[in-house]
Symmetry: C2
Subunit: 328 residues, 2 copies
């Protein structure tokens, strides 16, 4: 059995999840790692525990002379795993790092929505040209295998529509408003306390995060060519408890639904009234996506849309797809 050498770019929450999951798997060896300020590498395999301890103590995981860009360009590895935070405007620095790796013919797996939403066509072309894989299951709906489900499970089906709950933060807030009668402000504060919302939750709340995922689905699974500006967005901050209670009275819930109708070229994120019997009415931070297809009818995927180990699970599935395909 071949051992695959991994360069891990990003040592935040997801990066630590990846380290945990890969540490339990003899098929993979992390030979390089980088945070935003430094990097480390060892062809025999890094001691990730030690590196994380060093980062905690000094703020840096390794040598400032070896930043992520240099790790990607000069160190030896088979697969680059890129899990730094999303920059929705430029995709940087991840975009350049991914290009560097693909240009070298290295496989790349990422959970970073920035580069994929901004440049999926260019990156997939670069990957193909260099006989490398570029996979990003973790960018949409975390652990839920929505990209692979569409690509392989529903292969040959024309997709007529796709819609669902793609932002766990909003879903948590709406669930709490509905179930406990909290105001929007109270529910948001609770989500922050529990780590379900970031310090600046603007992109979650105003629908941008869900819209970015919709762009990724549209461009990589449905053959469209759209940008974030093409997605009509309405967030949840104006929703009142009264609106949720009125919905409840008629057997409905309000959820922030991202929807995509390829034939109409329509992409939208907005709060929608949906029947409580609809499988999209998930609670808490869950994600749920329904894909309406030509032959298979409507298929719904539900699961955890975020989380350190959950996102690492999607990355692991991508890694195993690569090892299966290229180890022949």
């Amino acid at each position: 059995m071949k051992t695959w050498n991994i360069a891990l770019i990003g040592l935040g929450s997801v990066g630590r999840g990846v380290a945990e999951v890969l540490g339990a798997d003899a098929r993979f060896r992390i030979v390089a790692a980088a945070d935003s300020k430094s990097g480390a590498f060892d062809p025999a395999g890094l001691d990730i525990e030690e590196i994380l301890a060093k980062k905690k103590k000094t703020g840096r995981c390794g040598d400032p002379a070896w930043p992520a860009s240099r790790i990607a360009a000069e160190s030896e590895y088979d697969i680059l795993v890129e899990v730094t935070p999303t920059n929705a405007d430029t995709g940087e620095p991840a975009l350049s790092i991914i290009k560097t790796a693909l240009t070298r013919g290295k496989h790349v797996v990422t959970s970073n929505k920035g580069p994929v939403s901004l440049a999926s066509a260019e990156l997939l072309e670069l990957a193909e040209k260099n006989n490398a894989a570029f996979l990003f299951e973790g960018t949409v709906a975390g652990a839920v295998p929505i990209l692979r489900g569409i690509k392989y499970g529903l292969a040959g089906n024309k997709i007529k529509a796709l819609y669902g709950v793609l932002n766990g933060t909003c879903n948590y807030i709406l669930t709490r408003m509905e179930e406990e009668g909290l105001t929007y402000v109270q529910a948001l504060a609770e989500a922050r306390d529990l780590g379900y919302a970031e310090a600046d939750p603007t992109y979650d709340i105003n629908g941008t995060d869900a819209a970015i995922k919709l762009v990724i689905l549209a461009n990589t699974m449905l053959g469209m060519n759209v940008t974030l500006a093409d997605v009509k967005r309405t967030g949840i901050s104006d929703l009142t408890v009264d609106a949720l209670l009125m919905a409840e009275e008629t057997g409905h819930s309000i959820r922030l639904i991202a929807s995509l109708y390829p034939e109409k070229n329509l992409l939208e994120v907005s709060p929608r009234l949906i029947s409580k019997t609809n499988p999209l009415v998930v609670t808490g931070t869950l994600n749920a996506v329904t894909v309406e297809t030509e032959y298979a009818g409507a298929i719904t995927f539900i699961g955890r849309g975020a989380g350190s180990v959950e996102t690492a699970s999607a990355i692991l599935a991508d890694l195993l797809f690569i090892t299966d395909k290229y180890d022949r």
Copy 2:
């Protein structure tokens, strides 16, 4: 682009669905077809409309001197698509036909639960030995890509439990009892009228059909080695409207749940009380499966578990998997 030659064994409801779906796809050409009494072949491609018309008129699709077994053994094709009805006791005649094709190094795709539940290990080994694919996404939950979802979408995850609604007939009956207060006998009669239950629905009602699907999941996705006799079964025929109404009063529904706990070697099909907020409480003939995994948490797949074109959709996904993998 290569055109793949298909031998279609079985011209019932699913066979006609496959003919419809493949007829719209230039990548495939049906060069041979067989029903239970006869067969036809034409290397240039059969006129399926004509063959189905002949079958309707005469009861036979072709020449009795070319039964399915001879089509499988002697005619030329790339992929055998086997969609005859399930024989849960012997798997025949499908089992022998599939072996014949695999032994010749032909790829096989089937929606027939008999051969897969009885002999998956032997058939997968035979396929590997002859460098052929043996795929059967359509045997479990129809159009829902549960096998591929587990194998590729959740790759690397240890599966801790798997449970769900795997029989659409029972789910339809329970939904109608719950929603309309029909008795079991009334709901069953309605299901028969609508074509959701067979003339003899014993295998659906007593949990055997769901149990067979559980055996397939256990043996092919979870590395177990079980038979139908290992599945504890309780059907739905003793359920009363009162029981369903009592469940309703506490916010629950009763569903026939097939469940699988690999570490305990426990396989069971029985009616269970589940909270209405659980995504497994699907209505009508829908199927739903939750997979509890090590890293990804619980992932739920929902969709149409039966139907002619829906099953054909699963077969198409299998066919495209083969054309992608072997056309290099």
